[in-house]
Every structure is written in C-alpha cells, then in structure tokens.
C-alpha cells in the first residue's frame, strides 16, 4: 500500500508538547489527590462516628512503626536523590550524576518491598474492624502508588540506558511532579495512620 493520505506530517511544536505534559500530569495528580482526600475523609469520618464503639476496639493491634519509619526515610531519600539528579542535569555543568537517579529509583523499589512486607505483617485478624480496614486500605493504596512510581522510574531508566535521555527535558520535569507527589501523598497517608492509631 502506498502512502494514502497526504505527504506531509505536522509535528507538535515543542512548547505545546511541554505544556500538554505538564497539564496532563498535574491533572492526574489532582484526580489522584482527590482519591487520597476521599480515603482520609472516610477514615476520619468512621473514626469520628465510632459506630457502636467498634471503630477501634481495645487491645487491637496497631501497625509496627519501625517499617513505617523505614519507608518514610526511603521516600525522603528517593525524593532528595531525584531532586539532586534533576538539578544536576538541569545545570548541565560537568558530569550528569546519573547514579542519583538510580538511587532515587532503588529507594522507591525498596520502599515498595517494605510496604508490601508491612501489609502482610499487620497482625490483624479477619473479619477486620473499621480501623483495621482503613489501615489496610492506606497500606495498599501507598503500595499501588509506589508501584506506579517504580514503573515510571523503570521506563525513564530505560530511556537513560538507551541514551535517549541525555539532558534535561520536560520529561524529567513532569516525571518529577509525579515522583514528589507520590512521596508527599505516601507520607501523608502514613502520618494519618499514626494519628488513627
């Protein structure tokens, strides 16, 4: 089949590509942030209602704080490393510190593993009470976010490994939006779980 439609293509100008990437990721973050708010509101609402005094019964297990602190530290490390990597390639002075990105990505992956470990060792027994239900949801929701960041990081890592991401671009910037958002949202959910406990 020979060319069928017309012989010229019209590529989007760079400023449009940048604007749509920013808008797309920011809207995704907005939508996701509303999910986070819905979960926080739900947990707070059930806590406030405390139906039949059964929201959190006495002597109910609470999540172990040590893995939570570990995840929090890993997330802060991940965010800082991503920021330093982005800054180094934005400046384009001297060598680009690609290992920083690998640190950011690995910290996220390790945080994900610890988070999954946490979700399996919460120490709750079925059927779960409302408090336990909320904690399980918070734990899994954070895991899903970290998984998504891990996948995004893997794709970006692939571009770097293939030599397609050699300098700062809007891709690095908008992935950063999501990266930082995930970290903030995860920390927020963790703090909320501590307050409920």
């Amino acid at each position: 089949m020979s060319s069928t439609v017309h012989e010229e293509s019209h590529e989007l100008p760079l400023h449009i590509k940048i604007a749509r990437a920013r808008a797309g990721v920011l809207l995704l973050i907005l939508s996701d942030a509303l999910s986070v708010m819905a979960i926080l509101a739900a947990g707070g609402y059930l806590n406030a209602l405390n139906v039949l005094g059964q929201f959190k019964v006495p002597n109910e297990a609470v999540p172990n704080i040590i893995p939570g602190i570990l995840v929090a530290i890993l997330l802060v490390v991940s965010g800082a490393a991503y920021y330093l990597w982005e800054r180094s390639i934005r400046r384009q002075a001297g060598t680009i510190q690609q290992p920083l990105f690998i640190v950011a990505w690995l910290a996220t992956i390790v945080a994900l593993v610890v988070q999954i470990y946490m979700s399996y060792t919460l120490g709750f027994g079925s059927p779960y009470h409302a408090y336990e239900s909320v904690i399980i949801l918070l734990t899994w929701f954070t895991s899903v976010h970290l998984l998504l960041s891990g996948i995004v990081g893997l794709l970006l890592f692939g571009r770097i490994a293939r030599g397609r991401q050699t300098r700062h671009s809007y891709v690095v910037e908008v992935v950063g939006y999501w990266w930082y958002y995930t970290i903030i949202a995860s920390l927020l959910l963790w703090i909320f779980s501590l307050i409920l406990s």
Partner: protein
C-alpha cells in the same frame, strides 16, 4: 513539517495482532489464568476468584490489543516512534478495520464511542421496556422479584454509563478537537485507552447475568452490597472502577486538549459554547469520580477480604457509602447535563440563524452550575437518619442551582426570540429538551425541599423526576447533537422525515409515560416494587401503553441510522450552514483535520444569512477542501 515515507504493506497477522481479536483472545486466557490461580490459592472465596478473573481479563486484553506497545517503545526501545508508526497507530490506510484496533485518531475514537453509546442505549431501553411490561398490571407477571431487581439495576447502570459518555465521548472526541482547530487530542494514546477501558468493562458488566445479578440497583448501596448473596455485585463494583478510570482518563485528555491545543486566535472568549459545556462537564467528572472509585474499592474489599467499611457491627457505617457515592452521584447529573445543554445551545444558534444570546451569561450559568453542584450531595441523605444540621445549607445550595439553570433558559429563549426558525430534527429535539427540562427542573424543587422530600422520597415521583431530567432533557440534547453532527461524522444524511417521526414518537411517548408516573408517585406508589399495587394500576397501565411509542421510536431510529448509513445521501462539508470550525473541513474529515491550522478572529456565531440552500453550503464558508478524505476499504 517532515516528509513522510511510504507506509508499509500490512499482512493478515499484522492486521489481527494487535487488534480487538487478539485482545479478546488474550483477555479470555488471562481471565482463565487469573481465576484458576486464585481459586487454587484462596479456597471458598468466590468473590476473590471473580475479581481475579476480571483483573486477568482487563490486563491481558490490553496486552492483546497493543495498549502497552507505545509505553514499551517510549521507555525501553532504542528510538522514539517514527511518524509513519504514529500514522499507523492513527489508522492510516486501514479502512474500517481501524475501528477494531487501538487506533489513536480522535475521529475513530469518537465513532467507537458513538456506536457503543447507541448499542448501550438500545439494551438499556430494552431493560426499560421489560420494566414497563412487568409493571403494566398488578402482581408478578413475567419476572420474579429478584430478576426484576436485576433488570432495574442493569437498566439503571447501562443508562447512567451511556448518558455520562453520550456527548463527551462521541462528540467530545470527534467534534471538539476540530472545533478548537486542533489536529488531534492532546494525548492520542490515552484517548484510545479511555475507549477500550469502556469496552473492556462491558463484558464484565454483562457477566453479572451469569453470576446471579445484583440486588442493589444502580446505586449499589452498602451494606446490602457487602452481603455475599450473589457474586454478581463484584461485577458491578469492578465495572464501575474500570468505567470511572476510563472517564477520568478521558476527562484529563479533554481538559488538556482544550487548554493546550487551541489554534491561534481561539481564545477562551471565542470558544464555541459546546466546548465550554464539555470542558466544564469533564472537570466536574474529574472532581467527582475519585470518591466513586474509592467507594467501590471499599465495597470490593468488604466482599473479598472481609473488611468492614460499611458494616456497623464492626465499626463501619452505611452513611460513609452514601456520602462517597453521592459526592459523585449528584455532580454526575451535571456531568451529563452540561454538555447536553451546550449541544442544545450550539444547535439553537445554527437553526435560528442568530448569534447565541448572552454568550458570556450562558458560560457564567454553566460555571455556576459546575461550582454549586459539588456542594449539594447531602440532599440525598435527608431521610437517611444522619445528622440534620446540614440539611438547611444543602437545601439552600440545591435550590441555588436553579439560578444558573435559569440563565441557561434565558439565553436559549433569547436565542430563539425573533430567530429564523429552521425546524429540522436537531431543533425539534432542542425544543423537546427545553419543555422536558422545565418539568424535570420544577419537580426537582419539591425533592430539594426537605418537607416535601420527606413525603416524596423513595416514591415513583422521584423516578419520574430524574427521568425527565436525564432522559427528557439530556438524552434529547444528545439526539439534537446526534442529528446535527451525524452527517459530519458519518458522511451520510439521515432521512429527515424518519428523524422527525423519531422525535414525535419519543416526545409524546415520553410525556405520556412519565407524567403518568408523576401521578402514581403523588398517589403514593413506592419505587423498587416489582409488583404494582391495585391503587396504582391505571397510572402504570397508561405509562406502559405510552412506553410502546418510545419503543417504536427506538426502532425508527435504528432503521433510519442503518438505511442512511447503507444508502443515504452523501453529506456535504457544511450540511447546515454552521460557522464553527468543524464545518470548514471536508466530509469525511481527513486524518489531520486541517491542511493549515485556521486562525480565529471572532466568535463563531456571526449568522446574518438566511437558511442556506444545501448546494451552496460549502460556498458559504469559502473553504476549499485541499485534503483527500481517508479512504474506506
């Protein structure tokens, strides 16, 4: 601009893989693998097995249809996609088969949405006729109460899903980018993803018929939804989650498109009113749907993992579900309404040959509805037994919506006033919409008011009210757009006589059916009753008889669409003498819409010409068609 080389010849294997064929094939395999694995790992948990089946289906369907190919190429390939590959993705040279692939062209996605919406409407209507059949006489006639409940629930969900996407899906994808002078949506791959997510949700939803149905109706209220009476509820929850993700992606894409992709001179103050309606609707959806997704995730967790978000004995609460659901449920009415209202305004200007009266006033009305509608959900909890402190504010806020809605009516009347009325089928549907919307709106005031709602809540009055709002108003708005843009989208004219017959059968049938149900509601007939009690028999019989007219109108529509598609007259580029940009491009619309992007210098409503003769419609615009339309094969 870049030169494009020859497109590679495709083989049968390349044609079928990836496509919907490979998607379904892999999806079924994925479903089987998921089901077998989880049933082995977790014994005696049908809900877990069913959720695993659905997850396997969705994941593998998307692998099979090639949704991940672009992601893989972006991240892990040695190079970016070439322009030829992008064209291939957009369906270049693939004829009608492009409608069955993961095609990125916004016009293909728009057509996929249109066909899907019409099919969903058809099945939803069949559910409605079964309901009317059952309710035509007292006592159980054809169905058991359980079957009746499932039919009502399926009818409700099918219609709600269809109406949410009925304007933003087909017209928002096909027409909107052209209207703003763009070559495509901002994220073409996400555009395809949003449609195919909807497609993937349909078999999941239909599977509920084979796993016992669901007893809750379309609202899926917990804790009834938590009870493991049948696993059909899992299908409901999973369908809603997949659908809401699809809608969120579509919303994100449409907002980005309008914000970023407008052509030179297309300022916010020059956007066609239809674009305003769609963007406000999807912003509202973007805000409302996250809580809906979370509510269904919680129900699934309650069912599969025995959590207790909604079970009072373990500290959960049914009110939590009601809040999460109605935080979406009420704005969703306006997600449906805003674009349909905007379609009506767009159509009214063309067929009255007048500028839109109070363009900015109407926009402020639509914005007002958008803002107020996220603050009114509590009026659905008036009679739920929850704390009453906020009833007053919710009542006030709900009634405030009548002010921006009044602005819409004012602008519509102003547009019609002394216009040169061209009574085509699209305009008839606009007229019908306005009549029905007044009835639906005014009866809504009684439900917004706490004292009268205490009496009317849970009765047939509510059913009649929301049918007047959603069907009589919004579906009529959709049909105005359908008859208006069908020639542009399909390239064929619909038969005008059959179109008008469709309208009159629908309007008379609709008024007869639901005015009767208003009467039944005022007599005290409750909703959700499979068996009609003798005092309400006459009103229900009249409603069922009038519903026959609606059924007849559906078949007239189907006949008209099929015959027009097969042997209808070929449509011209500017079928109605419209001034918006979609009427300046050839029909069928070329792959990239415009050869050169237009520059906009004014609002698109500078009508001063009389009703155009069809032959001179293209000459009106002074537009020459330099591009060859995409060939069908």
């Amino acid at each position: 601009m870049t030169e494009v080389s020859e497109v590679k010849r495709t083989t049968l294997i390349n044609t079928l893989f990836p496509s919907v064929v490979s998607g379904v094939l892999l999806g079924v395999i994925g479903a089987v693998i998921g089901g077998v694995l989880v049933s082995r790992l977790v014994e005696n948990n049908n809900d877990a097995t069913l959720v695993a089946i659905y997850t396997g289906w969705v994941l593998f369907f998307f692998i099979g249809i090639g949704a991940f190919n672009g992601v893989w190429k972006w991240g892990l390939d040695r190079r970016d996609a070439t322009i030829e590959e992008d064209y291939q993705m957009a369906g270049k040279g693939q004829g009608r088969w492009r409608y069955f692939r993961y095609t990125t062209d916004h016009k293909v996605v728009g057509m996929q949405y249109l066909v899907t919406v019409l099919i969903l409407f058809f099945f939803g209507s069949m559910g409605a006729f079964m309901i009317r059949l059952e309710q035509s006489m007292p006592g159980a006639i054809f169905f058991t109460p359980s079957t009746y409940n499932t039919i009502v629930g399926m009818h409700g969900i099918l219609m709600i899903v269809s109406t949410i996407i009925m304007v933003s899906g087909p017209f928002g994808n096909f027409i909107l980018p052209i209207m703003i002078g763009a070559r495509d949506m901002a994220f073409p791959r996400l555009n395809a993803l949003s449609y195919w997510l909807l497609f993937a949700a349909i078999p999941i939803f239909l599977s509920t018929l084979f796993v016992g149905g669901f007893p809750t109706g379309w609202t899926g209220y917990a804790p009834l939804a938590d009870q493991s009476l049948t696993p059909g509820m899992d299908a409901y929850c999973f369908t809603i989650i997949v659908f809401a993700i699809s809608t969120t992606i579509a919303a994100l894409n449409i907002v980005t498109t309008v914000v970023v992709m407008r052509t030179s001179g297309m300022t916010w103050g020059r956007l066609p009113i239809f674009v305003w309606g769609v963007i406000l609707s999807v912003i509202l959806g973007l805000t409302a749907f996250p809580s809906f997704i979370i509510s269904q995730v919680m129900v699934l967790m309650d069912r599969v993992f025995r959590t207790a978000f909604f079970i009072a004995a373990f500290g959960g609460s049914n009110w939590l579900y009601e809040h999460l659901f109605w935080f979406m449920g009420h704005p969703e009415v306006y997600v449906i309404a805003l674009p349909a209202m905007a379609v009506a305004a767009e159509v009214a200007t063309v067929f009255t040959r007048k500028p839109l009266f109070g363009y900015r006033l109407m926009i402020s009305g639509l914005v007002g509805i958008t803002v107020l509608s996220v603050l009114v959900w509590g009026h659905h909890l008036y009679t739920s037994g929850s704390a009453t402190a906020l009833d007053g504010p919710y009542m006030l806020d709900t009634e405030l919506i009548s002010i921006p809605t009044g602005l819409f009516f004012l602008c519509m009347i102003g547009t019609f006033w002394r216009g040169k009325i061209w009574a085509t089928a699209p305009l008839l549907f606009v007229g019908g919409m306005l009549v029905n919307f007044v009835i639906g709106g005014i009866t809504g005031i009684y439900l917004a008011d706490l004292p009268t709602d205490e009496l009317l809540h849970g009765g047939m009055f509510v059913t009649a009210h929301f049918h007047f709002t959603l069907v009589g108003s919004m579906v009529f708005g959709f049909f105005a757009g359908f008859y208006f843009w069908f020639p542009k989208m399909v390239g064929r004219r619909l038969d005008p006589l059959l179109s008008k017959i469709h309208f009159w059968l629908f309007e008379i049938g609709f008024l007869g059916t639901f005015l009767s149900l208003f009467y039944a509601g005022l007599q005290g007939e409750p909703r959700w009753s499979a068996n009609v009690a003798p005092p309400f028999a006459t009103a229900n019989l009249i409603a069922s008889l009038f519903a026959i007219l609606i059924a007849a109108s559906v078949f007239v529509l189907v006949y008209n669409v099929v015959t027009s598609y097969l042997r209808g007259e070929v449509a011209t580029a500017d079928e109605w003498g419209g001034k918006t940009l979609e009427w300046t491009v050839p029909t069928p619309v070329p792959l990239e819409n415009f050869e050169k992007l237009p520059v906009v210098t004014s609002l698109p409503y500078n009508y001063g010409t009389p009703i155009p003769a069809k032959e001179s419609a293209t000459a009106d615009t002074g537009f020459e068609a330099p591009l060859q339309p995409q060939a069908e094969s």
